[in-house]
């Protein structure tokens, strides 16, 4: 079949043009096969990475029509049938080296930053015994990650803060936080780091990473697990509010857990978020005081609810029942060993 591609060409990574190529490929061809045909038969200067062509090496991440894909996992036939001509460009959030090749070093630097290795002793003479619940459906999806960078390419938070650890590194971090072979002390130390600047609370929950991951890792879910574990180990004091309360003015403190805790407490009380409490309880009263001029500007623009009129749910009992349900589900989840290291369910 005949495939037409528009490819963003950039010989030096700086300037770029878009070129159109038409090639003949097999019906079963993937985007990678089509690129190979372009390189072999049209223009040998085209640059892209490839190796396994079976969606496991993670080399061929790139964008098609503005969204990240693995070229070797993207069939061309549906596009040809629709008469669609896709635009192929390099991944986002990473510097371009040439054509579809990006510099992955910033990506790997973040992977290295999360201490991506198990903290156990070496030279064992036998295996760890791992307690293994039989029914364990969502075990260690994080271990499926092939480090292709598709999630990072689409990460909205990283676009605004290039130093954000990002979905891939945080999924890697969860792979260890969730590993029962590590001690609670190791886990606490990891969580403390991840609660720092550019850590888990910078995620805007846009879910583009989940949507674009070609391997079903669901990085956003991993970040949510890290948040939940931070509550469990931080108890709101180690990473959260109480430290912040007395933090000197101007100190940068990560408000993550404290911020989330306000939501919890507030909805527990009245079924609604009490927004007037949000800022002071998250960043501390002193820091909040400095934000008063900003709050007044917001009030003038009609963006602040009346602090004297508290929101309260009409049927707060129902909210409380919902909370009980959530708490019970969380307990069951823990008992099932959600954070179990094994990525497969057990052998019978």
């Amino acid at each position: 079949m005949e495939v037409t591609l528009k490819i963003r060409r950039s010989p030096d990574g700086a300037s770029h043009t878009t070129e159109t190529y038409t090639v003949d490929v097999a019906e079963t061809a993937t985007l990678l096969d089509a690129l190979d045909a372009v390189k072999d038969k049209r223009d040998g200067t085209l640059a892209y990475r490839k190796s396994c062509r079976m969606a496991v090496c993670g080399s061929c991440g790139m964008r098609m029509d503005g969204g990240a894909v693995l070229a070797c996992k993207t069939a061309m036939k549906p596009l040809v049938e629709q008469g669609h001509v896709p635009v192929i460009s390099p991944m986002g959030n990473l510097p371009v080296i040439k054509d579809l090749v990006v510099d992955m070093e910033p990506f790997w630097a973040k992977i290295r930053a999360v201490k991506p290795f198990l903290q156990t002793e070496e030279h064992p003479d036998k295996e760890h015994l791992v307690e293994m619940p039989v029914q364990n459906a969502n075990i260690g999806k994080e271990a499926l990650c092939i480090m292709c960078g598709c999630c990072v390419s689409e990460c909205n938070s990283m676009e605004s803060d290039p130093d954000f650890l990002g979905p891939a590194a945080l999924a890697k971090a969860q792979r260890f936080v969730g590993d029962q072979r590590e001690s609670d002390d190791d886990r606490r130390a990891r969580l403390k780091d991840l609660n720092g600047a550019h850590g888990i609370w910078e995620c805007t929950r846009c879910y583009f990473c989940n949507q674009r991951c070609p391997k079903g890792v669901d990085p956003r879910d991993a970040i949510a697990k890290l948040g939940a574990q931070s509550f469990r180990f931080g108890s709101g004091s180690e990473f959260g509010a109480k430290t912040n309360m007395f933090a000197p003015v101007g100190t940068i403190v990560e408000p993550g857990v404290a911020h989330a805790q306000v939501f919890v407490d507030s909805t527990h009380r009245g079924g609604f978020l009490d927004e007037t409490q949000l800022v002071p309880k998250t960043i501390g009263p002193l820091a909040a005081a400095l934000d008063v001029p900003f709050a007044l500007r917001l009030a003038r623009a009609g963006k602040v609810p009346n602090p004297l009129h508290k929101h309260k749910a009409k049927n707060n009992d129902e909210v409380k029942r919902l909370w009980k349900l959530l708490e019970r589900q969380a307990r069951e989840h823990d008992q099932l060993g959600t954070n179990h290291p094994s990525l497969i369910d057990s052998h019978d």
Binding site: P11, T28, K98, V101, R112, D125, A143
Partner: protein, 559 residues
């Protein structure tokens, strides 16, 4: 000048395991690799890694050794096999402590599944993505040990000084330019050369670069004629469907639904040795009992639950590349070039005949696989012999540390070669020669070989080697020039194909994966010996050396 005690070329499982062990020995070690480590082809391994843990049923290193010796059709060196099978359990425990996530039995112990030609369920696995799990674990250790990696550096040649290997000459893919990287000891761990075949499970990167560098430098390659054809690969792109599918109970059927393995291996059936299964499949297809050039791998009776739990990766691959959901219908499969038993002649510590040069993993031939490798033994080989090579090279470098330096003139020579390629103006494009090579290899040096077919193949290779020296590139820039790399990769594949076919033509017997229709029996009297292929002025010269037999006398082999 870049300089280290030990330089490892290649960053798959063998290369990374070697680097970690050299580092543990106290050496300053670095890796040179044309791919980022986790992109290496080891990550595509699916079914598992063999060690006699005895977690599934009674097992021992002795039984593992015997199965491997028999599987090798008695061409494997029994001392090396015994070392691997004895050290395998410790290596598995260590991988597990490093962080490998293996599948478990309900009581928490590491699970083991049955694999072809194994006397007991011996294959340790992580669902059907074992290679993926292991490559990431070793990369994690590389980060932990802070081993530097010259990432996306393409090694073009070994640097030799007075008969000793003193490092490598490599092209910086991202920025361009030739660099000499000096080392007291150099370890080749560059993997196989499956890409010389049209139908192959191998990644695009598997082009035999390390083997050809060694061969050109005068180091002999061993048993190059033995290429394993995996019985279950997809027709569209050669992607591997793991032997684990049959280990979990999958059937092979022909067009009329018969389980044809009943004839070739009435006892082991689908779990006979790979050479036996691949031959039986080829016979079905050639005699007209196939389906569109394939046979059928039937998993439908295993049920959705088992497929989801144990074979999720295979299901994904079948759906992506064959348009088939194995829960509902059988997968069309055919044999494809998978694993090269041959490689750089190396001893049990990875040492080659050249001082300063080691080899480990698929690019080496120790030999533990002989004429036919058992499924699950190659991952084990990368770990055990990667570790041993790294340990020996590391300790040796610290003790002696007298290694030479890569000469500036050698860097200039390689740079001149690159510039000469850029300057060529008339000739074929590399892909044209590569496609011809891959087709002639699959058609004439595949599963069933004859003198006539091999002679035809060798003639074509000679002509292609000629044409290969004048292929032209479109891209003559220094920046990320994969067009240039394809010229060097082509050169390697052509040389390795020459070694393979020359060895195959000479070996007048059928043994393991080498099947001669004109010499159908194994001939221990004449051919119980390793082939050595030397480079003699660019041509292949054959020589032979004895097989090490310790405990198991050769017997007839049936499954």
């Amino acid at each position: 000048m870049l300089r280290h005690d030990v330089v490892v070329v290649g960053a798959g499982l063998a290369g990374m395991r070697a680097a970690i062990e050299a580092k543990r020995a106290g050496a300053d070690v670095a890796i040179v690799s044309k791919l980022h480590p986790t992109r290496s082809h080891s990550g595509s391994a699916e079914g598992g890694i063999n060690a006699a843990l005895g977690n599934a049923s009674e097992d021992s290193p002795e039984i593992h050794t015997f199965d491997t010796v028999k599987g090798s059709d008695y061409l494997g060196d029994q001392d090396a096999i015994e070392i691997m099978c004895t050290e395998a359990p410790g290596d598995i425990y260590e991988l597990e402590h490093m962080g490998a996530v293996f599948s478990r039995f309900a009581d928490g112990r590491i699970a083991q599944r049955p694999f072809g030609a194994a006397g007991s369920p011996r294959t340790v696995y992580s669902a059907d993505i074992t290679g993926h799990v292991l490559i990431h674990v070793l990369y994690e250790q590389l980060v932990k040990y802070e081993v530097p990696v010259y990432e996306e550096f393409f090694a073009i040649d070994l640097a030799i000084d007075g008969g000793r290997c003193v490092g490598v000459l490599a092209w910086d893919i991202v920025g361009g330019g030739v660099h000499g990287i000096s080392a007291h000891n150099t370890i080749l761990a560059t993997g196989g050369v499956g890409r010389m075949y049209y139908g192959t499970t191998n990644a695009y990167a598997c082009t035999g670069d390390g083997m050809s560098m060694a061969w050109r430098a005068g180091v002999p390659l061993k048993d190059m004629e033995f290429m394993q054809f995996h019985p279950t690969t997809l027709k569209s792109n050669g992607v591997l469907i793991t032997e684990g599918c049959r280990g979990e109970g999958g059937y092979l059927r022909n067009a009329s639904g018969e389980r044809f393995m009943a004839e070739a291996a009435p006892n082991a059936m689908e779990l006979a040795s790979r050479d036996v299964v691949a031959r039986a499949e080829s016979k079905e297809i050639e005699e007209g009992r196939g389906v569109d050039g394939c046979v059928l791998l039937d998993l439908t009776h295993l049920g959705a639950k088992k497929i989801h739990a144990r074979l999720p990766g295979s299901r994904e691959l079948a759906m992506d590349y064959a348009g088939v959901d194995p829960i509902l219908e059988p997968i069309p499969v055919r044999p494809g070039a998978h694993y090269h038993m041959g490689g750089v002649d190396a001893d049990v510590d990875g040492r080659t005949l050249m001082p300063g040069l080691y080899a480990a993993g698929e690019c080496a031939c120790v030999s533990v696989h002989g004429a036919n490798r058992l499924g699950g033994n190659s991952l084990m080989e990368t770990i055990t012999f990667g570790r041993r090579a790294g340990s020996h090279a590391g300790h040796d470098a610290i003790e002696h540390r007298n290694g030479g330096l890569v000469a500036d003139s050698a860097v200039r020579d390689v740079d001149a070669r690159v510039r000469a390629i850029f300057a060529r103006s008339s000739g074929q494009r590399p892909w044209q020669v590569r496609e011809e090579l891959a087709t002639v290899m699959y058609d004439y040096a595949g599963i069933f070989r004859t003198q006539e077919r091999l002679e035809h193949c060798l003639g074509t290779i000679g002509e292609l080697r000629e044409r290969g020296t004048s292929v032209v590139v479109d891209d003559s820039g220094d920046r990320f020039n994969t067009d240039l790399l394809s010229v060097f990769e082509l050169e390697s594949m052509l040389e390795m194909a020459d070694c393979l076919v020359t060895g195959a033509l000479a070996r007048q017997e059928s043994r393991g994966a080498h099947t001669r229709l004109d010499f159908r029996e194994r001939d221990d009297e004449r051919w119980m010996k390793h082939t050595l292929a030397w480079c003699d002025g660019g041509k292949v010269r054959l020589d032979y050396k004895p097989v090490t037999i310790t405990r198991f006398e050769p017997m007839a082999r049936s499954y």
